[in-house]
Symmetry: C2
Amino acid sequence: MNLQSALPSEIRALIRDNKLIQHTSGMAKGYIQANVVILPNKYAYDFLKFCYRNPKSCPLLDITEVGEHSFPKYGPDADIRTDVGEYYVYRDGVHVETRHDIKDLYGKDMVAFIIGCSFTFEHALLDADIPVRHIEEGHNVPMYITNIPTEQSGVFHGPTTVSMRPMSMAQAIRATEITTHFKGAHGAPLHIGDPAAIGIKDISKPDFGEAVEIRDGEVPVFWGCGVTPQSVCLNVKPELMITHAPGYMFITDIKESELLY
Amino acid sequence: MNLQSALPSEIRALIRDNKLIQHTSGMAKGYIQANVVILPNKYAYDFLKFCYRNPKSCPLLDITEVGEHSFPKYGPDADIRTDVGEYYVYRDGVHVETRHDIKDLYGKDMVAFIIGCSFTFEHALLDADIPVRHIEEGHNVPMYITNIPTEQSGVFHGPTTVSMRPMSMAQAIRATEITTHFKGAHGAPLHIGDPAAIGIKDISKPDFGEAVEIRDGEVPVFWGCGVTPQSVCLNVKPELMITHAPGYMFITDIKESELLY
C-alpha cells in the first residue's frame, strides 16, 4: 500500500493490526493528524474548559463520549484504543510504559481528546514557499517553555510551551496571515522576534526537540505547541493518563482544507 | 450618565443596584453583549461539549468556575447573580419566574455560561451599509426552527434555530465575508436563499420574534441563533436553569473588535 495516498481508515486498520508501527509523518497526505490526550472522566470537564481558554496551545478538534472509542466528527469508525502506533502511559505523572494498544487500560470512565498539530500549518507554509527549517534539517522542531502563563481551568495551569521556526520578517508576516486561518492547528504565532521577551534565555538550547540554524536577517517565530496540554496534564499527576508517543499521531478522517477558514 | 458611552462596569453597577432595568441594546457602545445560560454543575461538561460541537449556534465566550460569580476574561469584576437586568427562571423546563437578581438561587454547584450574540455582527453589517431590516422596522429579529440537527453531546440535542435578515445576493456575499471574521458572534451564515431547503415552511411566520419585509430581488440570509442553546437545554428539563430575559443581555468588559479575526 502507498502510505502517502492511502485513506486514513486504511492506515488506521494497518496500525490496529500491528502491521504498521512507524512515525505517521507523510501518511494519508492531506488529512489532519492529531495529538492525543486520554484522561479519566473526572478531569474531562476542567481539561475541556482549559482547551477552550487556551485555543492557541490546545486547539481541540474532537472528544469521545465518556467510555466511547470513536470521535463523532474526526473518526466515526476509529478506535482510539488501537489506532495509534505507539502510546505513552503515565501513572501519577510518571511515564511508566510504552504500548501498541491500550485496550485493557481504556475503561468505561475514560475520555479521549484529539488536539490539532503543527503538521497542518507546516504543509500550508511549505506550499507558500516559506522555509520550515527543522524539516530542511531533517529533525524535530525546537520547543521552548516560556513565561507566558496559560489561562487556568480548575486544576489545570502552567506555562505555555512554544515551537519555533526562523524566517525573514516579510515571511513571518506572510506566515501570520496564513496560520491565522488555521485556528484548529495553533493559529497565528504567539510571538515574533526577541526570545527574552517571552522568557527564553538561550534560543540555541530548546527544552524539547532540537535546535535549528537561525540565519542572518532571520527572526524566530513562535507558535503555540501541543506539548502544553501534555505538560499541564502531567502537572496534575493524574492516576492514569495516556498520550500518543511523539511522531505517532492519530490520523483523522478530516481533510486539512476543512480547518482553513 | 450617558448609557451609550458608559463603561460596562458602570452599567453593571447600576443594574446591580436595581437603578437600571431596561433593554441593553445601545448601552456601552463597542462592548460585547452576551446571552446567559446558568445550569447546575452536573450538566456543565455536556453543555460545554455541546458548545464546542456547535460553534455557529453556541459561540461560547466564557464560563465561570463552579459556584463562582465572575468570568475570568469577559467580566473579572462582574457578578452574574445581579448584573443582568432581568432573569428567567426555569424549573423542569418550565418558565416559572422572572427576577431582577438570583442571589438565593445561585448555589455553590451552579455554573454560568455566556454566549456571543448577534448584536456584535449587526453593528459590523450596519458599518458596511448592509441593511438590517428588523432594526429599520424597529422590532425583534425573526427566528425559525430548522431541520438542521445540532451535533449531540450527552443529553443535549435538538434542531438548530436561525435568525434571518433579507438583503441582495451581493450584500449576502459581503455579509458572509464580514461575519466569517466574527466567529464569537455566530460567524458566517448557515444558509442563504430557499427557506424550504432548511425546513422552514412559511417565511412570513417566524417561530420567535417578528416577520420582516423581504423586498423584490432580496434573498433571506440565515445565521445561527442564541435561541438554540436555550431550547436545547430546556429539552433536558433541568431541575433549575436560569437565563437572561430577551433583550436584557450581560454586558462584558471585552470590546467587539476583539472578536474580529
